[in-house]
Point group: C2
Chain length 214, copies 2
DNA sequence: AAAAATGTTGACCGATCGTGCAGAAATGCT
DNA sequence: AGCATTTCTGCACGATCGGTCAACATTTTT
């Protein structure tokens, strides 16, 4: 007997469908817990409780705490890498850098936990993802700095240090994610609203980029 | 029998002298461990091992893990508070802000662990020091922002957001402490030397303050 | 319908957690 | 010298840690 339009069975079976749902849920909850407690301080029990699953199930889908953690870190790293596509030699410098700041502030708002996980990992001297830093982050950073320095050489922007400008953009944009709690507390305990985020974007671009323009 | 010039007994007894030495050593080691692992991830055993003491001894001098942690956080908070004295209404704005950035970058180099402890605590939503945030940090921040905004009103600097400028200074200066490991890795695995720190100070001031000058 | 593959879970392991506590050791005081 | 106080530390506790595993449930394949 064939049941028409049974969405659960048309394309693929329940198993693979649930597998994706569950792994996504675990990854999301793991990001939250790792963000709050760091790798060492986080526990599989806490992740499992947040996801509403027995902890054995976490280990079933991700073979270890470290493997799960690497997946979480890898996600935010990829997202940030894509965001930096704006910094390309042929783009107009101020617009490119402004777009990059906008995108990173959007990510600070929508994915603060990813940023916190990264911050925790670096503060702890990257015990798990040092290979990321030495290979991928390294070449990726060098390329972006080269673009900024080239803009300087071409006389398109004021002679500033590409490296320190990039670090300042990272620092400032990620601050609005990592220090959300501090910012919220200083904002009468209320999260920034749409208008305040717009104001933040404008202010950060103003502060960081008015020294870059000729 | 009186033993002359016995430095251990001249001014005060061994006990009070050792007490100060030991508490200072524990505080220093605790800062290192809390910086690396956060409150939850840190353990008294690790602190004790680093200090070369049995863990019972840690509890003897500081009644609990949380009490020890509060002492560590309080120290860096006081240091940062004093550093902001430069931001006073009667000072010349660019020099005052430049001095503040210099001081905070000096602290990033000399006391990176304090900065990391603070970062960890905020990332974790200040479970231990929320009272600091709501009372002391709050009024202290409002006062500094008022000074910067007054400079704007007086026409001494360009009209920028005092709050976001302050946040940007915090973010950038603390980035060089909290993300030391990343910066070191991107610097061929070598810590920044004196010349590079001088370059950092100049670059950060250039980037953050050239948008502030009239 | 039987067999195979996949998903789920509680019980359990050795290690480590924070901390209380008794008593030993050292020091201060009279 | 003798007592009081302070310093120091080993041991023990219940809780939690990451991870293994066997038993069981469900789904897919044959």
């Amino acid at each position: 007997m064939i049941v028409a339009n049974d969405v659960n069975k048309t394309v693929r079976g329940n198993q693979s469908r649930n597998r994706e749902e569950i792994t996504a849920r675990i990854l999301s909850c793991a990001e939250t817990i790792f963000a709050e407690y760091g790798f060492t301080g986080a526990s599989i029990s806490k992740i499992a409780a947040l996801a509403g699953l027995p902890k054995s199930n976490i280990i079933y889908y991700f073979e270890s705490k470290e493997a799960l953690y690497r997946r979480v870190v890898g996600e935010i790293f990829d997202i940030w890498r894509d965001a930096a596509d704006a910094i390309a030699i042929d783009n107009e410098p101020i617009k490119a850098l402004g777009d990059y700041i906008d995108t990173k502030l959007d990510l600070a708002r929508t994915r603060p936990n990813g940023s916190k996980v990264w911050a925790n990992e670096i503060i702890q001297r990257a015990p798990i993802v040092q290979d990321y830093l030495e290979v991928e982050l390294r070449s990726w950073t060098d390329n972006r700095i080269a673009v900024i320095d080239a803009w300087v050489t071409q006389g398109k922007i004021r002679p500033i240090s590409g490296r320190h400008l990039l670090y300042s953009i990272w620092a400032t944009t990620q601050h609005y994610a990592d220090f959300t709690h501090q910012i919220t507390t200083l904002n009468d305990g209320k999260e920034l609203n749409d208008a305040q985020w717009a104001e933040t974007k404008a202010a950060v671009k103003d502060i960081l980029l008015s020294g870059v323009s000729l």
